[in-house]
């Protein structure tokens, strides 16, 4: 029953947000797109010239790009597997009755609130350092050779760090979903003689599938852009062993000042993220209707 007057007011209240986001989206995006077709280096100002698809050709045929693509996929995939399996198990655990539920939940959620640079540096120095890290101390105590995690398995080490940060998020969402599970359904299945495993497979997992999809999509959006953790631990190295797409574009544009090439990389990153985004938007859109 909105009147004409309140409609106009509503539009006036909405427009600042719409205009700001429109500007935020269109201006930098079109600039990135434009730069990606230029030969443009910050060290040679005034020498910009049209380059056609050269930047894309160089970027896509550079071996660094394929390393970065592979690392990006391994990083996203690895963290997703760890957080979803771990999050489901943790969710099931925290859904039980036990003493100090509230405190344990708070402990489990805590890593999510630690800023990326802190968690990366704490893991790098105080745990993974081959001389002074806790893992090295344990290895020595057991008579083993300490392992230099970030030099010998850089990508895996970063996966561990990032997974630690995101495990709470997956746990929290899956726990929320578990709590909305109808317990009568489970009890009925139990009465009918269904084993715990088949109850889990046929009742719990289907119920969780929606939440799992949401976790996958949202985490993917954030994980495609992992940056700080790489910057403070390995700087993308050794070689390109832990360079992801985000980090490669950063190196190309802000360290090598190659604006054209970096922009082409940026466009590739946008396309990649959009593929994921389309699926996420569809899921959320469906929910909005119900």
């Amino acid at each position: 029953m909105a009147t004409q007057h309140s409609r106009a007011a509503a539009r006036a209240m909405l427009s600042p947000s719409v205009l700001l986001l429109l500007a935020w989206m269109i201006i930098p995006l079109s600039m990135t797109l434009y730069f990606s077709f230029l030969r443009f280096n910050l060290l040679m100002p005034g020498m910009e010239e049209w380059a056609g698809f050269d930047n894309y050709r160089y970027f896509l045929t550079d071996p660094a790009f394929w390393y970065a693509m592979r690392n990006t996929l391994v990083l996203v995939g690895g963290v997703l597997v760890i957080t979803i399996v771990g999050g489901t198990l943790l969710g099931l655990l925290l859904d039980q009755d036990f003493f100090g539920q509230g405190i344990v939940r708070v402990l489990v959620i805590a890593p999510f609130f630690v800023m990326p640079t802190v968690s990366a540096l704490v893991w790098k120095n105080m745990f993974m350092n081959p001389v002074n890290g806790l893992f090295a101390h344990f290895a020595q105590a057991l008579g083993l050779q300490p392992f230099d995690f970030l030099a010998q398995a850089p990508l895996l080490s970063i996966i561990v760090i990032v997974a630690w940060q995101w495990l709470p998020f997956a746990t929290l969402i899956l726990l929320t979903a578990l709590q909305s599970l109808d317990s009568e359904q489970l009890e009925a299945a139990e009465m009918d003689g269904a084993s715990p495993l088949s109850r889990f497979i046929y009742i719990v997992v289907p119920h969780l599938s929606r939440a799992i999809t949401v976790v996958i999509l949202i985490q993917t959006i954030f994980l495609l852009s992992v940056f700080a953790e790489i910057l403070v631990t390995t700087n993308g190295g050794p070689g390109y062993a832990s360079t992801n797409l985000t980090y490669l574009v950063y190196v190309q544009s802000l360290l090598q000042f190659d604006v054209g090439g970096g922009s082409a990389g940026g466009v590739v990153a946008i396309i990649l993220a959009n593929i994921v985004a389309i699926f996420l938007m569809r899921m959320i859109g469906k929910n909005l209707e119900s």
Binding site: M13, T32, V108, A110, F113, P168, V214, S225, G266, A273
Partner: protein, 276 residues
């Protein structure tokens, strides 16, 4: 009989859950403990857990040597400033979409969300160049602007889902009684909207405090918030574990406490209402 089994089961679950919770929390706990050690004790082998001489010297050194307070204040100004600015822009927008929905409301909401899907690296160069030309590099103002814009979609969405839960009947009753739009907002809507706005504020401050792409790329020494200050420990000189721990503990403590208060809103805010 049945009760006995349950209580034994509960004891086992309790032990397992506490062990797992402790393990996940351990890196944070270890950082806090190390922050009270001397540098020598911080790297002692075998590691010392509680049997060391507790000291506050690292906190004092970090504060004296590195102008810690300024970086802390930068974090506060940037995260709180960008959150308040985003709320100022988002509250009217969310209000109008929740209470005066039109045919296009859903499309607008979805489109707003899609701007959040833009990978930051895709617009890094234009933003960097614009900031350089406008003199906004390494300023708090610049970061407040960027963080306001990147978090605006989340803020609008969270507010929208909260406002949606306010019963429209009450608003209509107020309108029947002849309340103007202004008094409708001030006397009817605001009191009911405050809890939702408060939790949106809390979550957004957390997100802005921990944001580590733009803060790292757009600041140097002057406007660097704690994320960027801590990153300077990636190439340190000499022994630094205890100092790193002290700086880290101070950087995460306020947010850890806020985060624990906002854990219920977290799910809702970060899933855009897809999981409640």
């Amino acid at each position: 009989m049945a009760r006995k089994v349950t209580s034994r089961r509960m004891a086992i679950v309790t032990v397992v859950a506490w062990a797992v919770g402790f393990a996940i929390f351990f890196p944070i706990l270890w950082t806090i403990i190390t922050s009270f050690k001397t540098e020598a004790e911080a790297i002692a082998s075998p590691p010392k857990f509680l049997n060391f001489h507790w000291t506050l010297e690292n906190y004092i050194t970090v504060n004296e040597r590195s102008n810690y307070f300024r970086h802390f204040m930068n974090s506060v100004v940037i995260s709180v400033g960008s959150t308040l600015l985003a709320l100022l822009i988002a509250v009217p927008a969310a209000w109008s979409m929740a209470f005066v929905p039109s045919k296009r409301t859903k499309d607008i909401l979805m489109w707003m969300l899609s701007t959040k899907m833009l990978p930051p690296v895709g617009v890094l160069i234009p933003i960097y160049l614009m900031f350089r030309n406008l003199g906004l590099l390494d300023t708090r103002t610049g970061l407040v602007i960027v963080l306001t814009l990147i978090n605006l979609p989340i803020v609008i969405w969270m507010l929208y889902t909260y406002f949606k839960e306010i019963p429209v009947d009450i608003l209509e009753a107020a309108r029947m009684d002849g309340a103007s739009l202004k008094s409708e907002i001030i006397y009817v809507l605001t009191p009911m909207a405050v809890p939702g706005i408060a939790s949106t504020l809390l979550l957004n401050v957390i997100l802005a405090w921990n944001e580590a792409f733009w803060t790292l790329n757009l600041t140097a020494a002057k406007a660097a918030p704690l994320t960027a200050f801590i990153a300077s420990y990636s190439s340190p000189e000499g022994l630094f574990y205890a100092k790193l721990s002290a700086a880290s503990t101070m950087a995460i403590a306020p947010i850890l406490i806020m985060g624990w208060f906002s854990q219920k809103q977290l799910v809702r805010g970060l899933t855009f209402g897809a999981v409640k």
